[in-house]
């Protein structure tokens, strides 16, 4: 059963075609990496999936349902959780408050003036669980804006997880990170995929991370899908080597 299916999705910005008739299918439980040279349209494609803006043409099916015309908030309600290339958190609030806002929003409590003890318990449980999964337990009461970059990233992932998404979308999770932080985030993503069976799509520049994590890889070049396959297939694909890996090496 496919979790996400893109059918001939395109995005034009004026005369610029950022994404050109991309079709791909991500299965439930899969970890899919989207790679490509700078300007290949990876983040644009990501934004189309998550509803940052609507596609110019094409359809996106999430769990079999068309979602291409839904707003970002509506797609979140259906089970998409995302992080951003440039970390997006609530900088002046604590880690706990950040994750709690996410958990309350996901549970549909965003409009409530009061939570009963059962509801509070559910929220508190989610918050504690996600903070623990992302390894932030010792920093629960720290203000997020004060944390190191890697921890801010982890906090953002904890917020996305607090939505209990069926599809987790990570936009360059290791962008701007040092060796150690990259190692930790990679470990976290692998645990989420292997141990918690999350379906994950990630855009990533770091090839070690991609080949280490991904079940399948989709390669974009100049807005179009160049290749789609297992890491071994992608590594052996001459077109990919010419367009991308060859240049990088």
């Amino acid at each position: 059963m496919s979790m996400l299916e893109a059918r001939n999705v395109s995005k034009h910005f004026g005369s610029l075609v950022a994404v050109r008739e991309v079709s791909l299918t991500v299965a439930k439980g899969e970890l899919r990496a989207i790679i490509g040279p700078n300007g290949a349209g990876k983040t644009t494609f990501f934004n189309l999936i998550t509803g940052f803006f609507p596609p110019t043409a094409g359809e996106i099916l999430f769990d079999g349902e068309p979602v291409a015309r839904l707003t970002a908030a509506e797609r979140v309600k259906r089970g998409m959780g995302r992080t951003f290339q440039i970390t997006e958190v609530f900088p002046q609030l604590t880690v706990h408050e950040n994750v709690r806002i996410a958990a309350e929003a996901a549970a549909g409590y965003g409009l409530r003036l009061w939570l009963g003890s059962a509801a509070s318990k559910i929220v508190a449980g989610t918050v504690e669980e996600m903070i623990e999964v992302t390894g932030l337990t010792a920093k629960t009461e720290r203000v997020v804006g004060e944390l190191a970059h890697g921890d801010q990233r982890a906090a953002e992932i904890a917020m996305a997880l607090a939505l209990r998404p069926r599809l987790l979308l990570l936009d360059e999770p290791t962008a701007g990170m040092g060796e150690q932080e990259t190692y930790e985030i990679t470990g976290l993503i692998r645990r989420l995929h292997r141990d918690k069976s999350y379906t994950i799509i990630l855009v990533e520049h770091d090839m070690r991370v991609v080949f280490h994590l991904a079940d399948r890889i989709s390669v974009l070049e100049q807005g179009a899908l160049l290749a789609d396959g297992t890491p071994a297939e992608i590594a052996a694909d001459p077109a990919v080597q010419a367009a991308y890996l060859g240049k990088a090496a």
Binding site: T50, T71, A72, A73, E74, V76, K77, G81, R82, F84, E88, V89, F90, P91, Q92, L93, E97, R100, I101, A102, E104, A105, A106, Y109, G110, L111, R112, L113, W114, L115, V143, G145, E146, L147, A148, H149, Q152, E156, M159, L163
Partner: protein
Amino acid sequence: MSALTRRTALPLPRELRWLRLAAVWVVLIAAPLWMPLVGGYTDLAARIVVFGLAAMSLNFLMGFTGQVSFGHAAYFGLGVYGAGFVLLYFTHSTPLALIAGILLGGVSGAIIGALISRQRGIYFALVTIAFQEVFYYIAYKWDSVTGGYDGLRGFQRAPIHFGLFTLDIQRNDILFYYFVLSVFAIVAGAMGLILRSPLGRTFLALRENERRARFLGVPADRYIWLSFTISAFCIAAAGALNALLNNFSDPSSLDVTISGELVVMAVLGGIHSFWGPLLGAAVFVVVQNYLSGITINWLFFVGLIFVVVVMFFPRGLLGVFRQRRAA
């Protein structure tokens, strides 16, 4: 790493919060006792509370939801007129006047809010001014109903009858002060409770990072409308109290000057602090009261104070308690 040197606001520890709350209320409740000792009078205290409530209401939107309105005099002024209409044209009832003012300002805020809640930042601020000017000119031109330039005059707040006893807030200014303070307590208390609820945290999330909030499933426009509406209802209550305090309603209560003064009060006191705008209003009203008797250029000195505060206390007067440099 810029994140390590950024100033961040930390909430006070729980015990200190209670202490501060108690201090605020002791000062407010005792105001009729100490105001005369410092050369003030009871109506001045009532003015401070009225404008403090107005600035806190504006700040609900500005400091806790992240959208600046430069046109909040509209809903303040509609509260003033709503109360005036009832007392002048309908009935001698202070509670009804108060309710009418709250409804007129609040419902108008809900309607205007629906029209502008897709705007953000400077565009949001500008359309709030535009709508405020509309209300100003309606009040200014619609002579037969609003009294035009002169406004509504010749009404008086009425004593409140409780069956067995009567509170003569008409003649007894100390009783009136406590009436104002009671309304303040209810409205400010409601705002405080909302801000500590999941709804309040959603507003805070929009202030902190709207993009993140939207991708947590928060329909941002709808929540900004809601915050604007709550803010309009609360400031309309302050407007209605102002009509009861002055016993007249005139177009100056709808003027853009008031909008600007409310923003100044909030910034003076600290927009990320719940009580800050009340302190800002106190400073503003007191300085205005003393200096306007000495010089017509009193606003110059208010400006001077504003500049000094912004330079040395960028988080406002109460903001200093929340300010600290990260380790």
